[in-house]
Structures are given as C-alpha cells and as structure tokens.
C-alpha cells in the first residue's frame, strides 16, 4: 500500500483512529464510570442509599417475590412479532438472584418459555425485579439505575439494540483499538526513550503528541487487555459457532454436562415442591469453607421451576479474586441433596474466567478499582489528544488552502469529549430535578442525555469556525464552562433534593454518594482549569494564527511524518 510498513501503519492509525475514536471515547469514558456503576445508582436512586448486605433468605423472602415477576413488555412485543400469538401466561423456566458486595438492593430475574416457536424450541423472554432485601419491598420499575442500567450498557452496546448493531460497532472499535496500539508502537520510533517525555510548555502540537504518546504507552497493557477481554466476553455474539456450524456439538455438550452434573437437561412436566433453599445455601457455604474459600452467595439459580427435575445452583461471589462467580454447588430441587460440586475449571475455562472477571471487576479491591478508572481516563486522554493532534497538524494547511476538514473533525472532537461529559451531567441534573413519582421518569432521563448530546454537537458545529483560520475553537472553552456549571449544579441538587450534602455523607462515611459528589466537584475543577488555560491559548492563537510552531532542536523523534493527510 504505502512504501513502508511504518507508513502503512501510520495510515491505519490515523484514519481508523479518527473514525472509530468517537466510539472508543464512549467505551472508555462510560467504561471508567461503570467501575463505580452501583455507586452512581445510589446517587441516582436516593431511596436505595443503604449498606450492601448478603443475599436474604430464599424461603422466607424471595420465594413469594419470584412468583410476582412477569415478562418485560418490550420482550413480549418482540416475541409476538416472532411467533404470532402468545399464551396468556407463559410457564416460568428458571429464577435467578444476583448480588455483589456493592449491591444494597437485590436483582431478581426470571425466564419464561415460549413453546410455540417452530424455529427455536428454547425461545424465551425475561422478567426482572429489584427488591429491598431488608424487608422484601419491590422497588418501582421506573427508577432508572443510571450507572448499571444506562452508563454500563452504553459502553458495550451504545444502546443500539437493533440487530445488536451497537455491539458490533463497539467490537469494531475494540479491534481498531488494538490495531491502533500496535501501529502506534510501530510509528513511535523511540518508545522507551520517550516513555516519560511530556513537554507541556512547548507549542500545542508537540505537547498534545507527547501526552498522546504518554497515555497510550504507559497504559498500553491496560488498553490492550481491556479491548481483548471485552471482545472475548461477547465472543458468542461475534462468532456464533454454537448456534450455527457447531449447533449439534454444542447441544450434545450441554446435555452431557447436565448428565455429569447429575441434573436434568429438560423439565419432566411433573410438578413437585422445592425443598428448603436456605438449607442448601448453608450446605454450599460449608463446602466452600471446607475447600479453604469461605464466601457469600453471589448467584443463585432455580432451574426447571416447580418441576420434579428442578435443581438449584448456588455460585460463590468472587469478591476476593478476579473470577466473577464460581465454585458452584448443585442441589436436587425436591430433595435438597447435593448432586454435584463443581471442580476447579479447566485451563482454558480458567483463562476465560480470568479475562471475564478482570474486565467486569466485581472483586473487592478499592485501589484496583480506582486504578481501573485511571486506566479508563488515560484511554480517554489518549483518544482525545489523538483528535487534537489530527486537527493541530492539519489546520494550518487547511486554513491556507481553504479546506474545512480540520474544522469538522474539531467540532466532532468537542462533541465526543466535552459534549459526552455534558450529556452525562445533564442526565444527572434531570434525575434530581424531576419529581420522584413521575410516570416514564426513566424515559425522560434518557431523553435528556441524548438531547444534551445533540445540543452539544450543534453548539460545537456553530462555534468551531475559527479552526478554519487555524485558531482554537471557542466551543472547547464554552463547553468546559458548561461542565463546571452542570457538575456543581448536580452536587447542589443532590443536597437540595435529598439532604445528603457532602459534609453529611462524609460524616457518616457513606462513600457511594460522598465519593460521587467529590468526583463531580473535581471534574468541575478540572474543567475550570482547562477553560482558563484554553482562554490563554486562544489569545495566543488569535495573535499569530498561521505562524508555524517553532520546532526546537531536540533529541526526540520530531522527524516529520511521512504520510500527509
């Protein structure tokens, strides 16, 4: 393609980085926020601001509540479009409860069988409920958990569910991230020598490139492993071998697994009551303790509900290690006796578990979680500085030739960086402002997110004309000030609407809310600092817009890049 390997890698890095960088910003930023998704949930749903606790008693509390779960309306609609008419009540297949050491509320799930689908005998729909485990109250459906139900899915699916298009786009972005890292290493001649090089006092193009290289290289293992592990988590979507070419083998394997476990693959169709699940939990915990890994229940599943073939699987919460849940113990439903205790995973399964658990981080390790946030934010800085470098490098040439490419890239960069932050902040502000019992509250909040982002885009497009004269767009500074305004407003609104002001939450060491309020204030501080810095730079650029940056003789790879725009 190009004359040399380095040139072709430069082309790849520049153009794929530019196009997919916008998606990667979303993945990295909301991925970083997802580290503290449950804490954000606490901020957004004030009635859940109490301490996490282990899973409550199944027999006493959960059993009657499970019976209340009904299929989700939108899933029923989709099912009707697949099979036509549905039975008035769908038989329930299984129930599940999932909790981690950070969950004060408990999520309950149910799967309901759709029996009249000729193409897919295992077709099913889902239902879910959230309860307060202190007293069994079912929490209102419409209270959007902004962290775990919005920011978190946004980072892997872009909320583009149609044909799972969002998942595929993020997957492409992840592949491009890995390719950008590889090509970046190829491009960067003195990668070890310049590992610590950051010269903020130099002209913009140099300092931006320094920062891009720094954040890309020092966090390279993080960026690479997160892109790779993200892809392997959803490998079933991207490489659906078990549903296509190897369907018989996958099916045979599942049946053989069930046989090894001593459980039935399908229900018998004969009703039978369930033995005491609480007793099963006690036994499971005893067995984990005996293996030297005492722990709490992380995941509990009742399979083939109400059937004589029913069995209960109890998984240990992996709070002390990287793997998510594991060491399952399976019990026969009607009798309550242990039928199978899972052995340690095979080498391959172990590696898979490790990568999944590494990415999803449900472990209890606050330092490591904060390191994850650092890694995520370094990724954001890497991508953002990539955009800035692209614009800085080309805007003088574009200004002198009358091309407007740099301007549009800059406007899109503003939208992807500060615009994205503004969207998230707007959602939080609206969350505090709307009345608690408003119908469709969740939809209003989501609407606010997208609307704010579109507004940020329009503002950026409007306020980026100076880039065409090789100056700095005021859009950056203005959106920084908007970030300051919204972030501080969010903290104040939390105080006004819930009474949980910073001193109160710090005083009783309620870190989910105190931490998030502090994070909002720090963000406001950084945005203000950036806005003031930008004002100074804008003045400089206004004074000498088309002046070439003075390249001082250095010992670094300041050699002009071989590929032009």
């Amino acid at each position: 393609m190009q004359q040399s390997f380095r040139q072709s890698m430069t082309w790849l890095h520049t153009w794929f980085g530019l196009v997919l960088g916008y998606v990667l910003m979303v993945a990295f930023f909301f991925g970083a926020l997802s580290v503290f998704d449950r804490e954000i949930d606490r901020w957004a749903t004030p009635h859940t601001r109490f301490e996490p606790r282990p899973m409550p008693s199944y027999d006493a509390m959960l059993a009657p509540i499970f019976k209340q779960i009904v299929p989700e309306a939108h899933e029923l609609d989709e099912a009707r479009s697949r099979v036509g008419t549905l039975a008035p009540t769908l038989p329930v297949m299984n129930w599940a409860a999932y909790t981690t050491h950070r969950d004060p509320v408990l999520r309950l799930f149910a799967e309901f069988a759709i029996t009249n689908n000729p193409n897919d005998p295992d077709d099913h729909v889902h239902g879910t409920l959230t309860i307060d485990p202190r007293n069994g109250t079912v929490l209102p459906h419409d209270q959007l958990k902004i962290g775990s139900e919005f920011f978190y899915p946004l980072h892997f699916s872009l909320h583009l569910e149609w044909k799972q298009l969002g998942y595929w786009i993020v997957a492409l972005a992840a592949l491009v991230m890995m390719a950008a890292l590889v090509s970046g290493v190829v491009m960067h001649r003195r990668i070890l020598r310049e590992l610590f090089t950051f010269r903020p006092h130099k002209h913009t193009r140099r300092s931006v490139l320094d920062l891009h290289n720094l954040t890309g290289v020092v966090a390279l293992p993080f960026h690479f492993v997160f892109a790779l592990s993200g892809l392997t988590i959803f490998a079933g979507i991207y490489l659906p071998v078990s549903e296509t070419m190897f369907k018989p083998q996958a099916q045979a394997h599942a049946m053989a697994e069930a046989k090894t476990k001593g459980v039935a693959f399908r229900p018998a169709g004969v009703a039978a009551p369930l033995a005491s699940v609480d007793a099963m939990v006690v036994e499971a915990k005893r067995r984990w303790d005996a293996r030297g890994m005492p722990g709490e229940v992380g995941f509990l599943v009742v399979n083939h509900v109400g059937d004589v073939n029913s069995y209960v699987s109890i998984y240990r919460a992996g709070s002390d290690r990287v793997a998510l849940v594991g060491q399952a113990v399976h019990f026969d439903g009607p009798s309550g006796r242990v039928v199978h205790e899972e052995p340690p995973p095979s080498a391959v399964a172990g590696v898979n578990e490790f990568l999944t658990g590494l990415h999803l981080q449900h472990f209890k390790h606050w330092l490591l979680r904060w390191f994850y946030v650092l890694g995520g934010l370094l990724g954001c800085v890497c991508i953002a500085t990539g955009f800035l470098f692209f614009v800085e490098k080309r805007k003088r040439m574009h200004a002198s030739t009358g091309v407007s490419g740099a301007r549009w890239v800059d406007a899109l960069a503003v939208t992807a960086v500060s615009g994205m932050v503004l969207a998230a902040l707007s959602m939080l502000v609206v969350n505090r402002v709307l009345p608690a019992d408003l119908a469709g509250r969740a939809d209003w909040e989501k609407g606010a997110f997208w609307a704010a982002w579109v507004l940020a885009l329009l503002h950026a497009l409007w306020r980026s004309a100076p880039v065409q004269q090789a100056r700095i767009a005021p859009a950056w500074r203005e959106q920084c000030w908007a970030v300051v305004l919204l972030a501080v407003s969010a903290v104040l609104l939390n105080w006004i609407t819930t009474g949980d002001h910073l001193l109160a939450t710090l005083g009783r060491a309620y870190w989910p809310v105190a931490g998030f309020d502090l994070a909002l204030l720090v963000s406001a501080g950084l945005a203000a600092f950036a806005a003031l810095h930008l004002r100074r730079r804008e003045r400089q650029a206004r004074a000498q817009p088309l002046a070439e940056p003075v390249d001082e003789p250095t010992t670094t790879s300041a050699a002009p890049e071989a590929v032009r725009a």
Partner: protein, 114 residues
C-alpha cells in the same frame, strides 16, 4: 494488625516502591537527569546503580502486591501501579522536576554540561 490495615500498608508500600522504581529508571536517561539535577548526565556507575535500584524496587513492589492479595489480582495491581507511577513521574518531570531530586541525592555529581 487487622488484615485490612495490613493490606493497606502493603499496598501503600508497593505503590511507593513502584514510584521510586520508575523515578530511578527515568533518571537513567540524560534528558530527564538534566531536568532534576544540575549536572548534565549521571556517571556510568550512577547509571548502573539507578537501573539496579529501579529494577529491584519494581520487583519488590510485585512481591508486596503478591503478599497483599490473591495471586490473580496482585499482578493487575502491580501493572497498574507502574502505569500510575509512570504518569506521575512524567508529570513531575514536566512541572516539578526538583521534587524528584530527593530520590537521587545520594548519587555523586555526574558529568557537567560542556
């Protein structure tokens, strides 16, 4: 000492060692040495000492991480400590290089600038 407090102490020490290690490794390079000290470059023996101390500090950091946590988590903590340390050192070199002088005060004066 309760487990949590011991863990916190071990991890603090691990992070501190990671920072020291990265500082020492960074200062084997003339450009960065010049930012921190008056002399133009470290002596040859100082460079060797810096590399040795830097590597040992990073290795010691890994050992402390392994002592503090489950073996699946410790390497993650270690790698990310190094990442954080590298960023910190880069920023310090950019804005407050003299702060790092303390870590090499024990090294002799190197070759002076010509």
């Amino acid at each position: 000492m309760p487990d949590a407090a011991l863990g916190a102490l071990l991890l603090s020490a691990a992070v501190a060692l990671a920072v020291c290690g990265m500082v020492w490794l960074a200062l084997t390079m003339d450009t960065h040495w010049q930012q921190v000290r008056v002399d133009a470059a470290p002596t040859r023996s100082a460079t060797v000492a810096l590399r040795l101390c830097g590597s040992l500090a990073l290795f010691a950091s890994l050992l402390l991480c392994l002592r503090a946590d489950h073996p699946t988590m410790a390497p993650l903590v270690w790698v990310l400590s190094i990442t954080g340390a590298a960023v910190g050192v880069a920023f310090a070199l950019a804005w407050r290089p003299r702060w790092l002088a303390l870590l090499v005060v024990w090294l002799p004066a190197g070759r002076s600038a010509n």
